[in-house]
């Protein structure tokens, strides 16, 4: 409990993990392939049973005519927006200022597709119907992310979503769903994936977030939409001769986890309630609406990291190794509940929180007495 280890080192040595499904290592692949027959044929450039069967299953899940497997969501979503822009002959779309395409893709949408985004809403809140109504620009497509990851995984009320969808339909605006974590929102909404996707013209879901596959994404919509998406997939260099390492593992972990989203959601709510009892920590949202939330510390990264290291070492429980500054005296980390949380005895979780609270109080009084 000397806190000399880095937060990453201390995290790596813990027995229990609050977040995720476990380490991203080769075991993830080996387990998925264990029961697969050796003579199972590879997909070949987007064709073959292994890819077609999974695509059909995903289309059914999402209530869309067709679905296409992509190596990444980055590729799938740029392509979705490009298709809608080409259809309307207008290279403008709208999305949230903290949209994945805006902050994590090296401007691929602009550099490769020359599509200009209108940034709707303030960074720290969700897009509302009002934002859409007040938008002056003509756009081909509006992208909504459910849940909005970069603000802790917040969700609009379902009625708001329906109203935005109705507006877009009435005004010839295509609505695209960044549903990287869509399945994780179903317990809160109390809806099926297909019911939510019916509000959207095109949908992307990730296969390595709540599902916990190795990599990969699904893009779904009507046949008119997915057909050109395969041509763009080839153009992007994503139409690989063999995608089965990702498809077979996605299929395996999908079956294993699709019905555990309620459990992850309950875990997130339980943990957030405990966290909010801690000194100088709050969660965003206050009560989670999916399996994720952000923990905001009223302390700089430099001050919170050694405290977390100490708590990890003392309890054998790891929370997160990625603490990010939000200001000079504030920082946060992202929490996503998966399989691992349920492995920890409840008393141990409470012990973790009590110790975190104690060390943060001590640190704050030290700070005040300086």
């Amino acid at each position: 409990m000397n806190g000399k280890k880095s937060v990453q080192e201390a995290f790596n040595e813990t027995t229990y993990r609050i977040v995720g499904h476990g380490n991203r290592d080769v075991q993830v692949l080996k387990e998925a392939f264990e029961a697969v027959e050796n003579n199972t044929a590879s997909d070949i450039y987007g064709t073959g049973k292994v890819i077609e069967a999974f695509q059909s299953e995903m289309a059914k899940l999402l209530g869309k005519e067709t679905a296409v497997f992509f190596p990444s969501g980055t590729m799938a979503q740029q392509i979705a927006l490009r298709i809608w822009c080409d259809e309307k002959g207008l290279k403008t779309v709208a999305y949230h200022p903290l949209c994945h395409l805006e902050i994590h893709e090296q401007d691929g949408l602009k550099e490769l597709h020359h599509i200009e985004p209108v940034l709707l809403a303030d960074k720290d809140r969700l897009i509302t119907l009002d934002d859409v109504l007040q938008m002056k620009e003509d756009i081909a497509c509006l992208l909504l992310e459910l849940p909005q990851r970069e603000i802790g995984g917040q969700l609009p009320e379902y009625k708001e979503l329906e109203a935005i969808s109705a507006h877009c339909r009435a005004h010839g605006i295509k609505l695209h769903l960044d549903g990287a974590r869509l399945l994780e929102t179903l317990p809160y909404y109390g809806k099926t994936a297909a019911e939510i996707c019916a509000l959207f013209d095109s949908v992307y879901i990730s296969l390595y977030k709540g599902i916990g596959g190795i990599a990969g994404a699904i893009l779904a919509g009507s046949e008119d939409f997915t057909k050109p998406s395969k041509i763009w997939k080839r153009r992007h260099g994503g139409d690989l001769i063999s995608l089965y390492p990702y498809i077979i593992s996605s299929d395996y972990y999908f079956r294993q986890r699709v019905n555990k989203m309620q459990q992850y959601y309950e875990g997130a709510k339980e943990l957030a309630a405990l966290v909010n009892q801690c000194h100088a920590v709050t969660t965003l949202p206050n009560e989670p609406v999916s399996n994720m939330f952000h923990m905001h510390f009223q302390m700089s990264r430099e001050r919170i990291e050694p405290i977390l290291s100490s708590v990890y070492e003392a309890t054998g429980i790891g929370l997160s190794a990625a603490i990010r500054p939000t200001g000079e005296h504030t920082s946060y980390c992202e929490i996503s509940i998966g399989d691992k949380y349920a492995d920890i005895p409840k008393e141990e979780v409470k012990g973790f929180i009590l110790l975190l609270d104690k060390l943060m109080r001590e640190s704050s009084s030290e700070q005040r007495s300086k």
Copy 2:
């Protein structure tokens, strides 16, 4: 021997295969991962030991400062050309009319990067120094493919290659190597990969041709070149959270096969000599210069396919299931020698050729007597 089976069905049922390394099935992945420790950590978005170690090994092999692993050659090569075009501020490149970028990528280079190619040489022959000298257009980059796959895997003489390289260097034209099958050319040239790559500014090699991995490609060059290539990889959606299924299998099969290129080359020469003794069949090139060649039939696809089916059924040896028409009365197939050819007793190969010769002669006399 009734020839009622399709050529694909007959091929699938053969015991021996003249071409390739074996079926593209899940066994390929399982074998590669068998000896890999379960706790081997995934690469994460292009970082981590598993990707960095392999990239270093490939950079060394190719004699370049750095190398980057890409999910596909399609992605790697478009990006290479884009970087050279951006550097020169000129969106024109030159390549062969049957270049992969021109005929197999749905015009990604044009649609995503707005780069216009000058098509050098006639379709049925290699690019020569004269073609480069006579080119009127100013270009940022010349792409050469070694061997030129779509014309049977032909190679320029090494002196010609050196002369083209010297010209490009003297005239500020970057030279890019489409070396999808580069390792397969080394026995003919009697050079190391690094010696050949020294003539080029950037190099791509494939990891699932002669090497026989699952998918993947390497792009190599100076640090100034590979650094922006990683940004473009992210833009294309190729910077996956985990590429290790492809990297680990590439590494495994690279070690297994890098020293077998001479064997494959000798196999191709031996087989081509036999094939050229057959009635109404010739190979391109006449004597192979790598592990590959094309077999050209003086018969339509409709006539040759049942003959091949019969030979496959009678001998238990499969040659190819993909026969493509070249004209009304002519057709061809591509032959690439890998591990499988050495499994076939020589007498059986000769029996295969004798039967093929016999059935083709019979078919020709039937045709004449009609």
